[in-house]
């Protein structure tokens, strides 16, 4: 079936099998590898996209149900080649090791901070509880999020 997907502010019409997930369509049909498959059941967060501004597991969204909704992946954060301040914060604070969880962390953190500017570290910790990371121990990710949350409150 033909479905219109709005990805990073661009409308794309794709032919999809109803039994394909948004994750499958993004990766296999559209070549958008921002989303990763880590578990197939919505636990790890590596497949996170923002759907109408809120984080969802793209591995648990059937492609047809994503039609006409605003989908944001990590490549949607850059502005004219400039890294988003949260991406810059991740680099500054060493919050990236293997990088597999990074897109999910960025989107989840961003969505939360946009709704809760100036959020403190404990609120941020709770916000990313659903995004598993095996490399960093989370501390530097929280350093980056806290830094950006502070900045975002000022700005």
């Amino acid at each position: 079936m033909r479905v219109s997907l709005h990805i990073n502010r661009r409308a794309r019409a794709v032919d999809v099998e109803p039994s394909s997930t948004l994750l499958d369509v993004l990766r296999d049909t559209l070549g958008i590898f921002d989303v990763k498959e880590g578990c197939g059941e919505g636990v790890c967060g590596a497949c996170t996209v923002l759907l109408d501004g809120r984080p969802v597991s793209s591995c648990l969204v059937l492609a047809p149900t994503a039609a006409h909704r605003a989908i944001v992946t990590v490549r949607g954060l850059e502005d004219d080649g400039e890294l988003h301040p949260l991406q810059q914060a991740f680099l500054r604070h060493g919050a990236v090791q293997c990088g597999f969880c990074t897109p999910g962390m960025l989107l989840t953190g961003l969505a939360f901070i946009e709704r809760h500017p100036g959020a403190d570290r404990e609120a941020l910790r709770h916000a990313i509880e659903g995004n598993l990371c095996r490399c960093t121990g989370y501390a530097k990710i929280l350093d980056a999020l806290e830094d950006y949350a502070r900045e975002s409150k000022r700005g």
Binding site: G38, L77, G99, C133, Y138, K140, L142
Partner: protein
């Protein structure tokens, strides 16, 4: 060579918090992981696996499956040119005797563990491959199995392998243990049990293979060991130079991608179909079939004098190898050598065995056998302290190894052993004790020290090579076979080369992990890559620098000793200078090479007979101490770690941010081991094959780990660095167990420390 660079100036880059080039790619999701790859005409492949833990294959019928839509090929054991895989110590060519193990690529008739691979299916789509896999008909005859190593060593146990179930037995003995116990004022005993755990990297096993225009079977995959191209070649009966492995930036390795995973299957299918083939394991498949960490049953007996001095220790270890050996014998050797911890023992004996069972196979995982024993020896140290009424910190200080002391196996510590400083740093980092926040909560503190080898066993003659070269415009290229598991392995190489050759790090481009195009560097395992490949790059860079400065001296007509290269400029002592580009042009004119291949050979040693002999086994060790403050809910048994301070002597921190990240990440993985991770098996059947049942820590489960970096400068790596990849994972379990005893008086001797285990120890659970 292995110690600090003798440059006539201060270091500019080493020791700075460099932003890694791969981190930039990762924040914009530009990194092409092994699964992020497609080739025209690519097939998708899946593995058919045994649901039984112990069985014989009576019949195997692939006809119906082969006829299904989209199926390109189905392969079984008889289709494999050479169906045997040897798990040699990866990358080595030295004879390693009993450490060499064998398994089949695809099962022939005997099944020895659940998940054992039986057939490969390749089809146009993954869905079609899975449909066809479900249609492969296998008739099994279940056989009696054995699921516990002690039971496996009983005389009438079912034989997992014809040669018997005892896979390896290592013994170390030093001094007169009986006499030691006889004069001890206090003798404490303990039995400790650790569990199977999974690497649980976020990126599952994945790869794509194709045959390139030269007929070379090319496999692009997530691996810690590109040298497995040799294994693929052997299986395909191809010359080794007709197989190429391109290692991608991994989404985590942790030892789980040290053995072969998908590469042999991909090579077979690409070779059979002549088409590109992709294989990506689901999380379920990864948790089901990938090798686990060895569970151990450990018995410790420790004798000490009233002064706190330990005078004797006896250790028995029994590990579970599962259905196949993989790296079990080597893991056991690490356990045997480190079983007594970072302590000076006049008399010690270790008796370590590992047995086959029909449980899932066990193999390499971060810590590699030196991890599990920390739970044993550090629980014992606290028991000794309590038995003597002494502080747990003091007992450790008294017994800590010092330069010149030897391990029970006879290896002498050649460098300063920072254990006392690490204890002090970690303990004081806990700060003021946290008061219990409610009446049902108790708070306690505990510490644990460890030693972890870095670098390979010395008689394996480890080496690594690297190529460093300038382009005509001054940009620098580094080529190294070292895979990057996410710990900044590649970035560190850039940092080292840039430091020595006086260029900004942004001017360096690095190519890694291509068995055809980058000089081989050995495995990214054993905390060896910074040591070995760092030294290889250091050596190549220094030698290149010497060549270039000699040319510059000729160009400037000065003494070679008076020129230096820094910030893209060559400066002579008299103030005259050349730009780097001018130098490089001059070299081209004079026929002076602008590149260099460096090979670093680790100092080698003779094999040590652990039982009778005495000597150096590992090049060196990294020491650590973690201090934990925990809160125990004494009504439910739930444990919350409030603080964890993790101190390690890293020799020199090449990139302090990377070092802190390794410490924090490793410690959190250690907390997962301590509190929640467990592969639950029922007669060899894995009940935890999803992230909903196999639990790894989230941000809500762990505190911020306080990484305390001590730099004593005496490591064997570049600029005095030591390996830091593995050491931080080991101490948390014991530190937490010791803290729980401090809080509640109960000692937990079995991992993971679940709320129920604590509740039972507290006597709360009524049957």
């Amino acid at each position: 060579m292995a110690d600090g660079v003798a440059l006539e100036r201060d270091l500019r880059l080493i020791g700075t918090r460099v932003i890694r080039h791969d981190a930039r790619d990762k924040v914009v999701a530009a990194t092409a992981y092994a699964g992020d790859w497609a080739m025209p005409g690519m097939l998708h492949a899946v593995v058919v696996r045994s649901p039984y833990a112990s069985a014989r294959i009576r019949a195997l019928d692939t006809k119906r499956a082969a006829a299904m839509p989209g199926v390109a090929t189905i392969m079984i054991a008889s289709d494999v040119p050479r169906n045997t895989l040897w798990t040699d110590i990866p990358g080595q060519t030295t004879e390693v005797g009993p450490l060499r193990a064998r398994l089949h690529v695809l099962a022939e008739d005997r099944i020895r563990h659940q998940g054992e691979p039986i057939a490969l299916v390749a089809a146009e789509t993954e869905g079609q491959a899975r449909d066809a896999a479900e249609a492969v008909v296998v008739e099994y005859e279940p056989l009696p199995g054995v699921f516990d190593p002690a039971a496996a060593l009983a005389p009438d146990a079912p034989r997992v392998h014809d040669e018997g179930n005892l896979l390896a037995h290592w013994r170390v003995s030093r001094g007169d243990v009986a006499a030691g116990f006889a004069r001890a004022d206090v003798v404490v005993e303990g039995e400790y049990v650790t569990q199977h755990v999974d690497s649980a990297y976020l990126e599952p096993e994945s790869g794509v293979a194709w045959i390139d225009s030269d007929g070379v079977v090319t496999i692009r995959l997530s691996t810690q060991v590109i040298e497995h191209f040799r294994d693929v070649a052997e299986v395909l009966a191809l010359p080794q130079n007709r197989v190429r492995i391109i290692g991608t930036y991994l989404g985590g390795g942790f030892g789980g991608k040290e053995d072969v995973t998908v590469e042999v299957y991909l090579g077979l299918l690409a070779w059979q179909t002549k088409r590109p083939v992709k294989m990506v394991w689901s999380r379920q498949e990864s948790l089901l079939s990938r090798a686990k960490r060895h569970p151990y049953r450990m018995r410790y007996r420790t004798g000490a004098l009233r002064t706190g001095e330990i005078v004797a220790q006896e250790v028995e270890l029994l590990g579970d190898s599962g259905g196949y050996a993989y790296l079990s014998a080597l893991v056991l050797l690490y356990s045997t050598v480190t079983a007594s911890g970072p302590y000076r023992l006049p008399a010690a004996s270790v008796d370590a065995r590992v047995a086959y069972t029909n449980n899932p196979p066990t193999s390499a995982m971060r810590g590699f056998g030196a991890m599990q024993v920390v739970f044993g020896y550090e629980s014992q140290m606290d028991r000794v302290a309590r038995g003597l009424g002494m502080s747990p910190l003091e007992v450790r200080r008294i017994n800590a190894l010092r330069r010149g002391d030897a391990l029970p196996v006879g290896q002498v510590m050649e460098t300063h052993v920072a254990v006392p400083e690490l204890i002090d740093r970690a303990w004081s980092a806990l700060g003021e004790p946290t008061p219990p926040r409610a009446p049902h909560v108790k708070v306690g503190r505990g510490i644990a020290c460890n030693l972890q080898p870095y670098g390979r066993i010395v008689w394996l003659h480890d080496w690594s090579s690297a190529w460093v070269g300038f382009e005509m415009d001054g940009s620098l290229v580094v080529r190294s076979g070292a895979p990057d598991v996410g710990g900044g392995q590649a970035s560190s190489l850039c940092q080292i080369a840039a430091e020595v050759l006086g260029v900004p790090i942004e001017q360096v481009s690095v190519h890694i992990a291509d068995s055809a195009l980058t000089p081989l560097a050995g495995t990214t395992t054993a905390s060896r890559q910074l040591y070995m490949s760092g030294n290889a790059v250091l050596k190549a860079s220094r030698e290149l620098r010497e060549q270039l400065l000699a040319a510059a001296a000729r160009m400037l007509d000065v003494d070679a000793a008076s020129v230096d290269m820094i910030d893209n400029t060559v400066r002579a002592g008299d103030g005259r200078s050349l730009t780097l580009v001018e130098l490089l042009r001059g070299c081209a004119r004079m026929g002076v090479p602008r590149s260099h291949l460096g090979v670093y050979h680790a100092p080698a040693g003779e094999p040590v007979d652990l039982e009778k002999g005495s000597g150096k086994v590992f090049p060196d060790y990294t020491f650590g101490c973690h201090a934990a403050e925990v809160e125990v809910d004494v009504e439910t048994g739930r444990v919350t770690v409030l603080k964890l301070a993790a101190a390690h002597d890293v020799g020199r921190a090449i990139n302090p941010q990377s070092v802190e990240g390794q410490i924090q990440g490793g410690a959190v993985q250690g907390l997962g081991y301590a509190l929640m991770e467990e592969v639950v098996l029922d007669q060899g059947i894995n009940l935890t094959t999803s992230f909903a049942s196999y639990l790894i820590p989230s941000a809500g489960d762990v505190p911020d780990v306080d990484p305390l970096v001590v730099e004593s400068g005496e490591g064997l790596g570049p600029f005095g660095a030591r390996g830091i990849g593995e050491p931080p994972i080991a101490p948390p379990a014991a530190a937490v167990a010791n803290a729980i005893e401090d809080a509640t008086g109960v000692r937990i001797t079995r991992l993971p420390i679940t709320p129920e285990r604590v509740a039972r120890a507290l006597g709360l659970v009524e049957e």
